[in-house]
């Protein structure tokens, strides 16, 4: 199916600094939205709903959320979960791109990766494994990971492909466990990130 977009070029809204390895979280106008079906993981503390906070506490709560988001993004970079490609995506959105662009890309990635990992697992359960098929799936996952800047998942996929070429079921099962773990870890972080951004946006709607 072909698609057709007509994009009216919009003026720059100003250069936005990225919140990486910074303590000044006030410069982080993220504008993403959490898809309604996603839930926050339990590994990160999320502040209470905005309507339960007194109006006078709202600025403090927003600052706390931004600090939390800054810390989360910094940890994602320092742990190697994401790389500069993810920064590029943030910059594209922040420099006047489509609002919700990063959220859309992240959600697409999570859906794709989840589906591909399940396909790989199903193929590796077959009595006779088609390693070319597994390799094609891993190649696809590597591409999606590279697109979103999911560095750790991408590197694991590169190692995974070697096991495919060696036609090693044991190696592939081991690599599958690693890539699944890497992906779940990243997905949890992405979900927390999107939820924090949604809450920050709710405090400061003019950032939309």
């Amino acid at each position: 199916m072909n698609q057709h977009r007509r994009l009216a070029v919009r003026p720059l809204r100003g250069h936005i600094r990225l919140c990486i390895n910074k303590t000044d979280s006030s410069s982080c106008p993220f504008r993403h939205q959490l898809p309604p079906t996603q839930t926050a993981p339990t590994s990160h503390a999320i502040p209470p709903p905005i309507d339960s906070i007194p109006p006078t506490s709202a600025p403090m709560a927003a600052t706390a959320l931004r600090d939390q988001l800054t810390a989360l993004l910094s940890s994602m970079f320092s742990q190697g979960l994401v790389d500069e490609q993810f920064q590029q995506l943030q910059m594209l959105q922040d420099e006047g791109g489509t609002p919700g662009f990063v959220s859309e890309v992240v959600t697409l990635f999570c859906d794709d990766a989840d589906r591909i990992i399940n396909e790989i697992a199903a193929e590796l359960e077959q009595p006779v494994v088609n390693f070319d098929k597994v390799d094609a799936y891993v190649h696809q996952l590597k591409g999606s990971s590279a697109s979103v800047g999911a560095q750790k998942v991408k590197f694991t996929c590169m190692q995974f492909r070697q096991f495919c070429q060696d036609k090693s079921r044991e190696g592939c099962l081991m690599a599958l466990a690693v890539v699944r773990n890497d992906f779940y870890d990243l997905r949890n972080k992405f979900q927390t990130m999107l939820q924090l951004e949604q809450q920050i946006q709710a405090y400061d709607p003019k950032q939309q």
Binding site: M1, N2, Q3, H4, R5, R6, L7, A8, V9, R10, P11, L12, Q85, Q88, L89, L92, Q93, E95, G96, G97, T98, F101, E104, V105, L108, F109, D112, Q140, G143, S144, A146, S147, V148
Partner: protein
């Protein structure tokens, strides 16, 4: 440099996530071109495989619509890959710049694309800086 009212780009890519990102990059590059006195509007068509791209180009050639200014072509796609699509588009006599955008950047891959008729090759991911260079090279910025 002449001021053009519109730039028409065909984006050929099977992965939705890549199409989404490329569309943003192209829009940003077009914005920069507009700021520099270039295009002030962008029409971005998308094709999910090579066959759809060939059809798009054929439609543009036969319709009253202006031809494409630039085609960004992925390599690995279902139905028809980027090499074959490039060959067929050139076979139609279309001279629009075709730039291959692929994660397979080995010399053999680049040569295969050029042999098929591509004008240039760039590796994924396509950044706005890389696209800016491409637009400048083909005098679209």
């Amino acid at each position: 440099m002449a001021h053009r009212k519109m730039m028409r780009v065909l984006l050929v890519e099977d992965e939705e996530i890549n199409r989404l990102e490329l569309a943003q990059v192209v829009a940003r590059a077009a914005l920069k071109a507009a700021a520099g006195g270039g295009d002030d509007d962008l029409v971005l068509d998308e094709a999910e495989n090579g066959a759809a791209a060939v059809q798009r180009v054929r439609d543009a050639a036969t319709a009253a619509a202006a031809p494409y200014d630039l085609i960004l072509m992925d390599k690995q796609m279902p139905v028809m890959d980027g090499h074959e699509a490039t060959r067929r588009i050139r076979g139609m006599g279309v001279t629009t710049p075709i730039v291959a955008v692929s994660s397979d950047g080995l010399p053999a891959d680049v040569e295969a694309f050029v042999a098929a008729g591509a004008d240039d090759f760039t590796s994924k991911p396509l950044s706005k800086e890389k696209l800016g260079d491409i637009l400048a090279k083909f005098r679209l910025a």
